[in-house]
Subunit: 240 residues, 2 copies
DNA sequence: AGGGGGCTTTGATCTGGATCAAATCGCCAT
DNA sequence: ATGGCGATTTGATCCAGATCAAAGCCCCCT
């Protein structure tokens, strides 16, 4: 059924890109075949173990990345060690901060992950040459801003119970890129990381999870695997 | 001393724009003389009283605005009335959410303010035709994202004392567009609004302000006017 | 000048979540 | 299997900040 040469949009697309998770993501989805080929020439796939650091807070990085699979957490730490996770990113998100070299936060693999790393200078050039790419990255920045502000409401005004429900709902909603909402999933974060995302302590997170379990809203298997029995109730608990 | 015609970059610039606060802001600074003229033709200056609503949460607005003077607060409210301020914007910031019509937050004048309102469709067209404008708005979105994440750290991990110090420092740093940091300023927010920005109650905000006053870090005149006696100490209290 | 209403401060008490302290669980390496 | 170690849960107690309550203050209006 394949058409032989032209007419097939994948003609001329690098082999590595054809089945890539991020092929139609924020960055690569906005590039021409020529650009894709050039970016691919200087790209490197990298497997990250959970906990591995992609960008260090306060450092200057000369790379950007795309997330191919896995979950990446964005963290801020204070000099005294207090830590706050300020965002989660999922495949095929773009990771990096155009226009500013020094990073004000760190990016770490929360789960085992695979990323596609490419030179900052090269993408910066492509951004300035490609309005569609600028637009696409602008769109992701605005979506992240919406998400950050939604989370500010969670941090500032929700109770511990509502915070934990919010987290479970967020994961249920984003864990599987294909399905809009999944009722069973693995948590990409440890209890300590959940605490740092919600502005709580480990103990409070654990107690609230237990409470949800005892109320029959969720089941917990092996600490990390969650089955949501009553998604409606979970959503109701967040109260918008 | 004026050069007669061409050579003066302001030639052909609408009169209304020449002395405008936002003339070199995120939007207008990225437009050509022709575009500026067109945008100006469909723009409207509007005076807002403190508390006046620019965009309602959940509504669809067909306008964007530039802040000419004053302070605008971005709020989210929950169905039960709990409220969180998720951002403050100062002249000459742009207010609006490109790409998405329905607003997930409300924008209100925190102080008496003046804004320049223009049609969404028109600016959307200019954005798609003007890479420099797209870039400029992308830049503002990323700066707002940085600010939102910084505030997430404040909301999630700082104590009431540190939160109030963070707010005073934010205002000292942004109140006067001209000076980088001012040691005396009027608070653009009431105690209730400060509480909604910091995720605290009015009473806690008041007590922490009193504590700062008694420690000699600040002086408070007429509730709204603040003089910072010891800016170093204020910054130290935020601990990065 | 007087009086009223909405902020703001101050005081007393309560409580949700933090902190301190043990178990218990799960998983890996031997 | 067995031991060991980090992660998680559970329990006891504490405390920062919320809540409830009452002045005080400021400013505007008549």
């Amino acid at each position: 059924m394949d058409v032989a040469r032209s007419g097939v949009p994948e003609a001329g697309i690098p082999v590595a890109c054809r089945s890539c998770e991020a092929r139609h993501g924020v960055v690569c989805g906005a590039l021409s075949g020529r650009q894709l080929k050039e970016l691919n020439r200087y790209s490197l796939r990298r497997k990250m173990d959970a906990g591995g650091e992609i960008i260090a807070q306060g450092s200057e990085s000369s790379f950007y990345s795309n997330i191919m699979c896995g979950v990446v957490k964005l963290c801020k730490v204070m000099p005294d060690g207090r830590e706050q996770i300020v965002g989660l990113q999922f495949a095929p998100d773009f990771v990096g901060r155009p226009f500013v070299r020094e990073s004000t936060l760190s990016a770490e693999a929360a789960t085992d992950a695979e990323i596609c790393v490419f030179p900052r200078n090269l993408l910066d050039r492509m951004i300035s040459e490609t309005p569609e790419l600028q637009r696409s990255l602008h769109g992701q920045a605005l979506r992240e801003l919406d998400a950050a502000r939604e989370w500010m409401l969670t941090l500032g005004r929700r109770t511990a119970q509502e915070k934990v429900a919010s987290l479970l709902h967020l994961i249920a909603t984003h864990a599987e890129p294909q399905t809009p909402t999944s009722t069973a999933f693995d948590l990409p974060l440890s209890r300590a990381e959940i605490a740092d995302f919600l502005g709580l302590t480990i103990e409070t997170v654990s107690r609230q999870m237990t409470k949800l379990r005892k109320r029959g809203v969720i089941r917990i298997e092996n600490n990390r695997h969650i089955v949501v029995h009553d998604m409606d109730e979970l959503e109701r608990m967040i109260s918008a």
